[in-house]
Symmetry: C2
Subunit: 192 residues, 2 copies
């Protein structure tokens, strides 16, 4: 019963009451994604906010040498969104693609704006989700700068097992900022 997850998500920041969540939830609509299906392609504008209730999504960009770099993984309970494109209405620099079959709740940008205008508490909620993502990215940045790749990989295994379980190693490697071969050696264990 994935609607449960939507209600839970809406209440997760503390600014929306159970009764209000019941009123807001119907504006979202349920969607599924096939494996390999794109939510967003570079150059396009993101039109939908998407809360995942199942599956795994990967965001990736191309660096100056054209290499495919994974910029994020989004799993159950997370918002799979390219923030900058969605809110600034500008073409995305990134792609977002389902790695596995996915399901979730979608809210078009226009509807979100309408809700922002009419519902105080939903505005608060929207900002809180944004701030949460910001803090998570800062934490990841700090870890990238201060910790060796082996430690970052262990943290990923501990805190995001779904990613390690379902994403190909090459995507995990570029997410961690290392090469396929280095990740392979890290996984093999200490010493070698």
């Amino acid at each position: 019963m994935p609607q449960q997850q939507l209600l839970h998500f809406l209440q997760s920041t503390g600014s929306i009451s159970p009764a209000q969540a019941e009123e807001i939830a119907p504006h979202f609509h349920f969607t599924t994604l096939q494996p390999q299906e794109f939510l967003l392609r570079a150059g396009q504008i993101s039109h939908d906010y998407l809360l995942l209730t199942a599956g795994l999504v990967r965001a990736f960009a191309h660096d100056t040498d054209g290499r495919d770099i994974t910029t994020g993984f989004f799993g159950q309970g997370q918002v799979a969104l390219e923030v900058s494109s969605f809110f600034s209405r500008q073409p995305s620099q990134e792609n977002m693609q389902a790695l596995t079959a996915c399901a979730g709740w979608r809210l078009p940008h226009s509807q979100m704006n309408a809700l922002f205008h009419t519902r105080n508490e939903f505005r608060e909620f929207g900002r809180a989700v944004l701030v949460r993502g910001f803090a998570a990215l800062k934490a990841r940045m700090l870890s990238t700068i201060t910790q060796p790749a082996a430690v970052r990989y262990e943290q990923l295994v501990r805190t995001r097992p779904e990613v390690v379980q379902h994403a190909p190693l090459k995507h995990i490697a570029s997410y961690l900022g290392i090469t396929n071969s280095s990740l392979s050696r890290i996984r093999k264990g200490p010493g070698h």
Copy 2:
């Protein structure tokens, strides 16, 4: 005449008209900071939004080994703020300290909330500034993961000369994620 800078800042996202900017500006008040003065200490809650019109501010955290890591530099025209603490009303993980004498426009959290409630366009503006910061952090993350330290340093010199001019090299080094000695060698030039 630093009020000019405040008006310009308020109009920078396109959601606030010149006339509206004139009405909103008086809610900010002008402040200065001595060199070394702290805007925020780890463990405290951030109470003020601050737009800098002059000077340089450094944000820093301590990693798991207790090392002082610079997480950001804020200069003229930028918002010196620990987003997570300010918006979520939680104790900050980071410190913010003036590196040089600073001046800027301050808006207490309570006033910002009041403005958010009463002024539609100011809400839009607030979100746009947040989104802008988010995008900048993502770009920095991508660069950290894909480019060697020497290139990241050159970019910093090119895009943020004030930082290189006023911040001690050890702070720049930790910001780039390298040691003092590595930065010293990078600065000396290629080859050696």
